[in-house]
Every structure is written in structure tokens, then in C-alpha cells.
Amino acid sequence: MDYASGSPVDERVLEDMKPYFSEHFGNPSSFHSYGFKALEAIKNARMRVGGLIEALPEEIVFTSGATEANNLALIGAAARYKNRGSRIVISSIEHISILNVCKELSRQGFEIKYAPVDKDGILDLDALTELVDDKTMLVSVMTANGEIGTIQPIKKAAEIAHDKKALFHTDATVAAGKIPLDVNESDVDLMTLSSNDLYGPKGMGALYVRRGIRLKPIIIGGGQEGGMRSGTENVPGIVGMGKAAELAKVEMRSEADRLTKLRDRLINGVLDSVPESYLNGHPIQRLPNNANIRFSYIEGESLLLSLDELGVQLSSGSACAAKTLEPSHVLIALGLKHEEAHGSLVFTLGKYNTGEQIDYVIQQMPGVVKRLRAVSPLTPKELM
């Protein structure tokens, strides 16, 4: 139940990719029939990825992943449009790739402002309106957060940005394929997509770049991807992401229904059976596949380890935070205390999760929590 940090590739996707590893190994820039075949395949994938978010094929720039797409969006726009202003406004719960890029841009002289979220993780639109001023060049608010699952009002955020002639970027890494997205309806200028989150291959992502917007490339060379991203195209990867986008488009609605049911069964089941457990994030404005639950008095990693031994794979926050041992900045932004943040678990459900698995977790959870609470010096007597 840790689909957020890595998903298996859908077999139908892999099937589509296979010929491009072997027979159709051409370079789309090559001048011969193998090359043309690759070019066709890329065109087709561009259409499919565009289709998922109602974008034109030529508005899709393929990258090596969501991190690169986020970097390209922010660094590329900052370099290109710096004459429009020096301020960049982002939400306080963006992914570390946005946060760290902003730190770098701040070193380069940009002024970074962080729009707060409420206790459920929903962007404070009034605060955003105040922060976005005439010298704001770019606003970036994620479509949904991968840790707490909260879905953001990006259409309104885009409006606030555009009122001040700022560009609007949204990181839809974890939202795409889970909820319907429409770049025109939401009036988004730049949108980050990830392949693996769609059950496509890893090492692939894309940036939607609205027609008319030019970005300074961060990877320079042969001028592939309309000059915005150089390097020989990862043809099987692109084909795979295309197929994954197509499948997501078709299957999203029914899969979302199924996952929402599982999610709510999980949340209700755990909250009911484990005393002093709480849901992080918004109860309704949340991704169909995300549950983030906080357990008082115990620490997340020891929970992960216990559950891993029971065959349940989870995460205690972003996979990156696992490395620094810091509590999640997202949970802190919700106003949680550090020790509360430490005791949170992220459940991200996916294609292969079943009701039985959910019930197994609900059944195991009380025992695991009880055992760890027994070891903890913080647990009140009455819970032991």
C-alpha cells in the first residue's frame, strides 16, 4: 500500500514497450525507416499523454521524470520570464523538488513566498491572493499532495495568478490518472506529469507547456522536444507513458470509485479499531487512493518495520524524507507537532489492492500499535 513511491508497470504497458527495446530500436531523428517508426510512436504517445489532460500533443515535453519536469518548469520559466518579475509564490506543501528548486532560485535573486494551507492541507486562497503581487512571475501549486492526498483548488489558484499576469504551474504527479484533469478548464500554463504514477515505466515524465510559452531548457544538446529537452528520446519509455496515459483515461473513473471505497473502509476501520488514531488531510477533498493516519505515542519507522514484517509495505511520508529522518514538512504545515508528524503512516492504494488486504491491515493494526505503545515512554497508562 505504498503506490506513491513506486508502482508496478501495467502488463499492457510493458507489452506495448517491448518491441521498442528490440525490433524498433530506431532513433526518431534518424533518416531511415527505423527512425520514422520511432518518430511515429512518439507522436502517438504525445497524443495520448496530451489526451489525459486535454492538451495538444505539441504541448507535451517528455522528460526523465516528475522531478526533472518540475525543475524545467520553474528554472526554465524563471530564466525566460524574469523580466516579468522576481517573485515566485508556491504552496508550503510542495514536493521537495519544487522546494529545493525554489531555494536555488532564491540564491539567484528570486523572492520566494510560501502560501499556507489550513489544518486539512487545503491552500489558503486569501493568503495566496495577498502574496501574489504585480511583480510575481510564477505561481506553483500542486494539484494534489502525495502524502496527505489533499486536492487543491488549482483553478482558483490559476485565476489568482493570471489576475496578476503571473504564469501558473501545477505539479500533477500524484493527481494525474486519479482524478480528471483539464488544462483548459483549469487554465493551467505548465503541468508536471509522472509516468510511473500512471503505471507507466519509471524514468519518464512530462511537462505540459501551454502553446506560446517558451522555457529555457535545463538539458541542452541536440534540440529534441522542440528544443526544450535535449537527449536521444527514450522511445520505449515514451511509448510506455503514452499507453499508461491512455489506459488511465479509460479506466480512471471506475478505478477511482473502487479505490475510494477501499480507502474509506481502511480509514474507518483503522480509526475505529485503534484508539488515539487520527486522519491527516481533508476527509473528502482527497485522492481516491490516499489515507494518511496518525498514531499517538509511537514513531513511524518502527510502525513501517512492524508492518513490513507482516507483509504490508507502507511509507511514513515522502520517500525522500525517509533519508533525512526529518518529520514531513507537509504534516508540520498542517499544524501538527513534530512528535505527531513522526507517528503518521501513508497508505497509497493501487490497482492490485483488494478488500481482503484492507481488512488484513485493519485486523493487524491494533496489535502492532499496542505492541509499540507498550515500548514507548510516552504512552499513557490507560492505553497499555
Partner: protein
Amino acid sequence: MYSEKVLELFRNPKNVGEIPDADGVGTVGNPVCGDMMTIYLKVEDDKIVDIKFKTFGCGAAIATSSMTTELAKGKTLEEAMKITRADVADELGGLPPIKMHCSNLAADALHEAIKDYRRKRGEKV
């Protein structure tokens, strides 16, 4: 990531609990940082005759607490003061570099508990 020994002690930690009438108590860390540990001692004739711990923290923190209390049990206070984080990590078959901090914590808590005992006896520590 963790050695089998760490996992084994995480699953079945030894000496978990409190000693209500402990002769020495040492607490280090704090829940804000994600790790906190308390060690309780019973001392007789300068020897640790009983030792218990409570730990809020990661798997390594729980395993090192268990290992530290095992190493200390039965030792004289002087010997127990010499238990280092390296000793604990060695006994556990190594710890991931990022987790070395945890083994530090357990040895520190032990040393704090011994100092507490000595302080209570009016010794200078």
C-alpha cells in the same frame, strides 16, 4: 537495510518496561526529534542487577535499547560506563550509517541512568 540481529531484537526486545522503584533513571532525546529513551536501573553492590527501558523511536532505537540493556545487565557500574555506541553497533552486526545516532542514544541513556544513581547517592559525577 537492518541486520538480522537488529530485526530480531526489534521484534522481541528484551528488558522492556519500567522499574517503579529504580535506583537510577536516565532519559535522553525527545519526541520532537523522533527519538526518546528512558533507562531504569536497579543497583546492588555497584552492580546492575536489573535494567529496563522504554523507547519512542525507530526500529534501530528499539533494538539498540534492548542490546544496550542486555550488555549492561550484571556489569559493574564502572564496566557499564565503558559501553560505547560502537560496542552496541558491533553486537548488532552493524547499523546503517544514518542510524548510528540511535545507538548513541541508548549508550547515553545508560550513562545518564548511572550518573543519576551516583548523584542520588551523593557522589560527584
